[in-house]
Amino acid sequence: MSPFAALLRRDLAAMFGSGARGGAALPVLFFLAVATLYPFAVGSDARLLAETGGGVLWIAALLAALLPIERLVRPDLELGLFDQLALRGVAEEASLAARILAHWLSFGPPLMVAALPGAALMGIEAQTLLNLELGLLVGTPGLAALGVMAAGLTAALRSGAALGGLLAIPLAVPLLIFGAGSLDGNADGALALTGAASLVLLALAPFAAGAAIRAARE
């Protein structure tokens, strides 16, 4: 088994397991909690709910993706995992790419499933729901990359998690604008831009976080 596959397997087992790194259900529960609470806060105006619900679900997805930042990189840095991997010729970029993939698998597809009951609670129309699902499909990989990047950049810092959240949210704005923008009517362009923003983050994240982890060694 290649180191990448071994890492992916370990990360997935850790995220879906019950240990300290576990809790893959947490982002989904958070997402569903927002979807459940929002109608209570806004009231029973069905039109208002249907119009704003999609955007709220996007915000919920974004925050849900950033929820596990504290657990994404820091525990492994403290464990000395990256040192041992570096001495085996496994670049930090490769192990972080595996981490991004594992992180996405742990919340991206589950969120897309959770968006179905979420949309039902908001009374969102079928077409909007389809656009939401497509947007989440292309947008959540970018959110996963962003989460790992913020986690890597702040892993060596004290109170890194709070800082990581602050760091990630502005960078998530393009995803949010294009993702939520794809909800009504003219979706194709907005979806393409969501995908573009997602790809930029995916391309950047392993290198940014990898450089941060190497810098933390000095």
Binding site: M1, R9, L79, R217
Partner: protein, 191 residues
């Protein structure tokens, strides 16, 4: 195992504003065992990290021939996993099918079902040596390998180091304890 070599020329290390050492020369060949000693903060761990390539030297250069096996205070074993599972991850990364003999050799074979977080410092150290042995790398860089070990464990580790160097490997050990093996060169940092 290829013939290992570890050469440091004119090596200097800076931590913050302080230069810990400068002009350090090393030339280690197969069979060499080097014991780094010296007071706290003199740069033993930093020197090991420089030799491993985990840190960049402030000046000078390090040449390595051969893969590096590394032991320090971090076990790099998942605390939540049973020891056997945590070790299996490294077997997969290293692409080796580990023999059962190594856990037995280090006396951790009865702990393979126990989550790593319940293990003592010494038991974790033994487990780290299992991972090191599973990998057959010619250069061993060990930072305080005897910390937390009982006398039986320490004797085992010393025997392993002697065996490793006797088999053509080379080894650098940073330790406050004396290393009870023959043919060990002692280097006092900061002296």
């Amino acid at each position: 195992m290829q013939a290992p070599r570890l050469i440091a020329s004119d090596l200097a290390c800076r931590r913050g504003d302080r230069v810990l050492f400068a002009g350090l020369e090393l030339d280690l060949r197969p069979g060499d065992a080097l014991h780094l000693a010296g007071p706290n903060g003199v740069g033993k761990t930093s020197l090991l990290r420089l030799l491993a390539g985990l840190m960049r030297p402030f000046a000078g250069s390090v040449e390595r021939e051969g893969a590096v096996g590394w032991i320090d205070e971090h076990s790099a074993l998942d605390p939540d996993l049973p020891l056997g599972t945590a070790l299996r991850f490294w077997e997969r990364v290293d692409g080796c099918t580990a023999p059962d003999i190594n856990p037995q050799l280090l006396g951790v074979d009865h702990l393979l079902d126990v989550p790593v977080r319940y293990l003592s410092t010494g038991q974790r150290k033994r487990a780290a040596f299992v991972r090191l042995l599973n990998r057959h790398c010619p250069i061993w860089l060990l930072d305080e390998p005897l910390n937390g070990l009982d006398s039986d464990g320490a004797a085992k580790i010393e025997a392993l180091i002697a065996l490793h160097c006797g088999g053509g490997g080379l080894c650098v050990v940073a330790s406050h304890q004396p290393i009870g093996i023959d043919r060990v060169t002692r280097m006092e940092l900061g002296a």
